[in-house]
Symmetry: none
Subunit: 196 residues, 4 copies
DNA sequence: CATGAATGAGAGTTCATTCAT
DNA sequence: GATGAATGAACTCTCATTCAT
């Protein structure tokens, strides 16, 4: 691992744990075991480092999710696979994932960070969900629902459970599995159900 | 409004907008149009002010929610009323609500803030939901589900949509109404459904 | 003397001696025997302090010069009195005068300082000289000369000698008196001289 | 042009424009289009580079001036030629001349630069003028004046006009020509003038 | 009650310098 | 000869906090 990579990983940890303002460049340098001057040398300002750290994590997650949903699946199956992949990713990156919870338009983007860039980066997560939901309604696996709101709600559902699991001190049990079931129950098209 | 109240409201705004670390005491004093010495005078340290601001908002919301769910309702109806009250509260306090998104165990509580106190304060939100879900399963309005996980998921669902609505620049449409429908569809006990 | 005044005087000394970039705010605070936080408290940024220090000195000198030249004098006498007052002022403020040599459009105004404000501040020095020269040509005490250039040259002459006296390690003798004579010889209208 | 020369020229530009402290080695390397390591490689420390840049310019000017004044001229003519050559040189090196205004005992030599070396280097400029003035008084072209002060005043006159022309945003017109006339009028020996 | 002068720890950032390649 | 990775001292500026008035 190069020192540059070490800095990026350390930044993901530190920013994830403490947030943009509370984390310090010295802290990042210490975790990466490099001098703090090297951080500026490679990444310029603290803000640029923050975005680099967040976007690197976002890119990794995106490639995970698109891989999970590409294939010959019904829309509902794709949603399930999206969620499964998302939850798995968070568990595999417990330590460095929280940067993504922070460097996200669903969080309070800190004043000194370019909110537009962040919002832009995240549209892909929602768009991918929209695609799944649209497909699902066409192939009959998902009941008729407003696409935009549904995609946002599913995403909120996912992130809500991730937050509960990663951040709170509460005992969360099998929350990830239950969240998937929760969403599937809500989306599933059961012909004649309402009429029962 | 007394100056003390003005400071508390200003703190809710400032901390909500900027977070604990980035917001400054001077900032709060400026918004409240008082000298910054007065802030310490009334609230002591910055941390104490932060907790006071967050807990004041939490208390207001709790009383809103308990009022909404107390009465002769089925468990499912109570969940609906809980969610409706929650969303309504956020809309009525758009400017000062975000402090609660931050000063919450579902967020990254900043290092210098007492996380235990915060977590403790929020158990009541989950417990109230657990009560509704338990009731619902007893009265037959809610299908059999693991109580703890379900309560956490519903709460995550609510907060996810609130975040999407309050924080993101995305067009969210009728996300609150749809979130309620989403939860109700998922929880509703439809006898014989799976067997159809 | 208030602490604010002490800071201003210390700034005049430190900036005069070391220049904007090389002088440090800590240095200024040390000379004024105050904490460096107080410097920001009163003057904001280093740049603002620099301008405040330079402009305070400029204002003092201006009032000195206008007082010296106001009265019933010929143009040439006024120029003499202007120069005498200028030189006297520099000698009375040997320690703190150099800030004016630096914070001046006749010096390299440092990149981070607002050059326009500085240039603006100094027009009064030249304008006053122009007035004297113009009067002198009207009252016959000064020979016909281009006003603008002459005023700039006299000013350059003054500052040149001040620099030589204050800054160089060279032995300068009676340079101030000789500079006045030098200028007077050059300006004096001696009817029939050229024709001799 | 070798890379070493390119660095020297770049240093003259950068130091002239920004001064010793504000200019950076990286800046110089950038202007010279070489890596910043090469600057140390050739010139050692920043201070050494600064002196090399200043002294190179001083040497060029000295050779210009001595060439201009050597020949069969009266003292007054020699002074005129000295001034003419000086002004011409500044105009020919507008971009890189300012280093000499800074790296000069008539300026505030920055604390980290060896002032003695600088003062030493510049004695030749004054000595050359002293020689002209002495000659002029012997050959009768210059009136009786104190040599040392007169040389310093003339030099101050020259530098004053150069500063006015190169550094200020003021419209300076034909200041160089007028400065020469100004000095000549002041020095010229007009027998019987005072007695007229 | 209310103010703001005063302090100094600690942040981000810049930059000369060294040195392995 | 030429490069730029790496270091850390020193800078400016921000800010919570204390305290005299």
């Amino acid at each position: 691992m190069t020192k540059k990579e070490a800095i990026l990983r350390a930044a993901q940890e530190a920013f994830g744990e403490l947030g943009f303002t509370a984390a310090t460049v010295k802290d990042v340098a210490g975790r990466a075991q490099v001098s703090f001057g090297l951080v500026s040398h490679y990444f310029g300002s603290k803000q640029e480092l923050y975005l680099a750290a967040g976007f690197d994590m976002a890119d990794k997650l995106v490639s995970c999710l698109t891989q999970a949903t590409s294939g010959d699946y019904t829309g509902l199956e794709a949603v399930e696979r999206y969620m499964t992949a998302y939850f798995q990713f968070t568990e595999e990156h417990r330590l460095r994932f929280p940067i993504l919870l922070r460097c996200s338009p669903f969080s309070h983007v800190e004043a000194s960070v370019d909110a537009a860039k962040v919002a832009d980066k995240f549209t892909v997560f929602i768009d991918e969900l929209k695609r799944c939901v649209t497909n699902g309604m066409q192939d009959g696996s998902i009941r008729p629902l407003p696409v935009k709101e549904t995609a946002l709600i599913i995403y909120g559902n996912i992130v809500g459970s991730v937050r509960t699991n990663l951040l709170t001190p509460y005992e969360t049990g099998r929350i990830f599995e239950e969240t998937i079931k929760h969403v599937v129950r809500s989306l599933k098209n059961s012909p004649g159900q309402d009429g029962c």
